[in-house]
């Protein structure tokens, strides 16, 4: 109890409050502007957070991550354009409700649903992280290796209809992570005698290029589209009544978001997909889905907002990021020499409790902000797209140049920007590259560390944990191939 109280003392600091406010409100604004999204914002802000206290930096980034989807629902519902990609499903029922003059009801329903998802996942984070952390000391190199492999396998197979290219890009990410001087024999790998390649590609440079600079190019080359905003009429708590009415859908969707958030490589899209289908299957009027069903909004928004806090569970307990945004946050931990994993709960427990409390406050502040400030946010949504492109490119400079004040970093970032731009134009995924880079690095280190105890392949999986994870990998692959086979038979 004393520990919890002493952890809460951090909220007497003004900088913690500033980080919470900037992160939560900034996240809502970023989410509400179509074309920006939390990945771009976090990639840009990441280097700036390196000089901050770790709790401040992580809180700010978590604020953006956790609140962007709240904001992303606004344009999805009002103008049929999702603010962030994960709000796409909200357009189905949200925009239909707007066309039926129920815009306020739909928007507030999305807020309350997101809030429910956020709070349920924080509760799950508090209980499950400490539970996993108790098991985590039993994790050896082989177990972490298998967990990282599970993450990569799930990233690939979760890209349905794009598994081949997702696999290719995962290995590409792993490959670019190997470039430079390796740390065991100190030999050069794929440096092509270029001195600037000796230290390899910095994760931030690649991230900024693939997410931020590529998005700036997309916006700069595209056209400005002016949307007409519908008026918001009605009471602020209209949506709350709908949420209470469909509380079962909310709880199922929140649970689905938590489960999908914990599993590395799966994330918001599958969480929403499953929640939406479950909500439809248990509804009295499934035919309304896609035409303005409140349960549709609840399923989509509750599930996607339950993912961020849940995605922190494998990161905090095992040091394994499940998706791109937690992979970015991992670098903040490393910069401050706070290594996520079982030790975190022994050495930095006050930091962990502070993080839990910050996450809770972020959700409360966002909710209050949105209930009173939505009409002002509508103006921000209308920022011209090409001007956003100018701003993102200018901000990307800060992100990459502050790393080492290096022109070469900026050129590398621009090259990855073009690569990301091409991938986006071809509708190919970017996230596998980042996860390949981060998890590939973890895998190589653990692979080498485990060699002393390895004689045959079976030594990798003869431990209870690694064996169980391997079994999960096999089952996941079997389900994947079975679903392909079934689809082809149809």
């Amino acid at each position: 109890m004393d520990l919890i109280l002493s952890s809460l003392e951090i909220f007497l600091r003004w900088d913690v409050w500033a980080a919470i406010l900037v992160g939560s409100i900034g996240g809502v604004i970023i989410g509400a502007i179509p074309g920006v999204g939390p990945a771009v914002a976090i990639a840009i802000l990441l280097p700036a957070t390196y000089s901050m206290d770790p709790l401040i930096g992580i809180t700010m980034l978590l604020g953006i991550y956790g609140s962007a989807m709240y904001g992303g629902a606004i344009p999805a519902i009002l103008i049929n354009i999702p603010g962030t990609p994960v709000n796409a499903l909200t357009t189905y029922d949200g925009y239909s409700m707007t066309k039926d003059n129920k815009a306020r009801r739909a928007v507030t329903l999305a807020y309350w649903s997101s809030f429910t998802g956020g709070i349920v996942s924080i509760i799950a984070l508090v209980f499950m992280t400490s539970l996993i952390a108790k098991v985590a000391p039993l994790f050896g190199s082989r177990d972490i290796l298998m967990a990282a492999l599970l993450g990569l396998v799930l990233v690939v197979i979760s890209h349905r209809k794009q598994t081949l290219i997702a696999g290719l890009l995962v290995f590409f990410g792993m490959f670019i992570g190997t470039i430079g001087m390796e740390s065991v024999k100190y030999t050069k790998r794929f440096t092509f005698d270029q001195s600037w390649l000796l230290s390899g590609f910095d994760l931030i440079t690649v991230l900024l290029g693939l997410f931020a600079v590529s998005q700036a190019f997309i916006l700069l080359i595209g056209n400005d589209e002016r949307a007409i905003m519908p008026s918001l009429k009605g009471k602020k708590n209209e949506g709350l009544f709908d949420l209470i009415k469909y509380k079962t859908v909310a709880l199922i969707s929140a649970s689905m978001g938590v489960i999908m958030g914990i599993i590395p490589g799966v994330g918001e899209f599958l969480a929403q997909f499953f929640s939406y289908n479950i909500a439809k299957s248990i509804s009295d009027k499934p035919e309304r889905f896609g035409k303005g069903a409140p349960e549709g909004i609840i399923a989509a928004e509750t599930a996607n907002n339950a993912v961020p806090a849940a995605a922190m569970i494998p990161l905090l307990a095992l040091g394994i990021p499940g998706e791109a945004l937690t992979a970015m946050m991992l670098s903040v931990f490393y910069v401050h020499n706070i290594i996520p994993g079982p030790d975190l709960f022994v050495k930095h427990i006050d930091f962990v409790y502070g993080l839990y409390a910050s996450l809770f406050l972020i959700n409360v502040i966002v909710m209050i902000f949105l209930l009173f400030a939505t009409k002002y946010l509508l103006k921000i949504i209308q920022i011209p797209q090409r001007f956003l492109g100018v701003s993102i490119l200018g901000l990307s400079f800060v992100g990459v140049y502050t790393l080492r004040n290096s022109m070469i970093d900026c050129i590398v970032c621009a090259v990855f920007g073009i690569f990301g731009y091409i991938l986006k134009r071809l509708d190919l995924p970017i996230v596998p590259i980042i996860l390949g880079m981060v998890l590939g690095n973890i895998m190589e280190v653990k692979f080498r560390a485990s060699q002393a105890r390895i004689d045959t392949f079976f030594d990798y999986i003869n431990r209870p944990i690694s064996g169980t994870i391997f079994a999960i990998i096999v089952v996941a692959l079997m389900i994947h191939f079975w679903s392909i086979w079934r689809q082809k038979r149809k």
């Binding site: 280097p47 700036a48 000089s51 209809k161 794009q162 598994t163 081949l164 290219i165 696999g167 290719l168 995962v170 290995f171 590409f172 792993m174 490959f175 190997t178 390796e182 065991v184 024999k185 030999t187 050069k188 790998r189 794929f190 440096t191 092509f192 600079v213 190019f217 700069l220 080359i221 011209p384 090409r386 001007f387 492109g389 100018v390 701003s391 490119l393 200018g394 901000l395 400079f397 800060v398 140049y401 502050t402 004040n405 022109m407 900026c410 050129i411 621009a414 073009i418 731009y421 091409i422 134009r425 071809l426 509708d427 190919l428 590939g440 190589e444 692979f447 060699q451 390895i454 392909i484």
Partner: protein, 175 residues
Amino acid sequence: MGKEEYQAGDLVFVMLVLFIVLALLVSIPFETKWFDGIPLVKQPRFWPTFCIVGMTFFAVPYSIQVWRNYKFQLGQVQGELNELSSWLRPLEYVFYFVLYVWSVPLTGYLLSTLLFFSLLTIRAGYRSFLMFWVSLATGFGIVVVFKSLLQVKISSGAIYDYLPDSWGTFFMIYF
């Protein structure tokens, strides 16, 4: 397992991928080291080779998939060329970006940013005074937030050396 519909540019992309994968496979012996007497899995060469072989493992069936999809839509040469030219369009903005990076150590972060934002806003097609001022305000705001308040590490401009001492120091620290 692959995209079911062909999209202009897929074939060119796949050809580039195959070329890169092949080039990487060929360069493995030259770009990685092999130590005699050390088991394969402990060689510095092992992990990059594993990654490149993994890339090849997925690249080959992906190429076949794209080729199969392409065959049904022959006669799309113009579409391919149009897509290819659109891939080159960001190069113009890369040039502006690199110019901006190059100018910062010379003219300072503030001046470079104001010029970058205002000129790029004009290039993006905005001609109104309002957008011009908005671009300047945005650029100034970014400099104040990141350099003046957050004190991120950005090299100061050579131009500040020509300012009077007190002003020069002030600009070096905050702008």
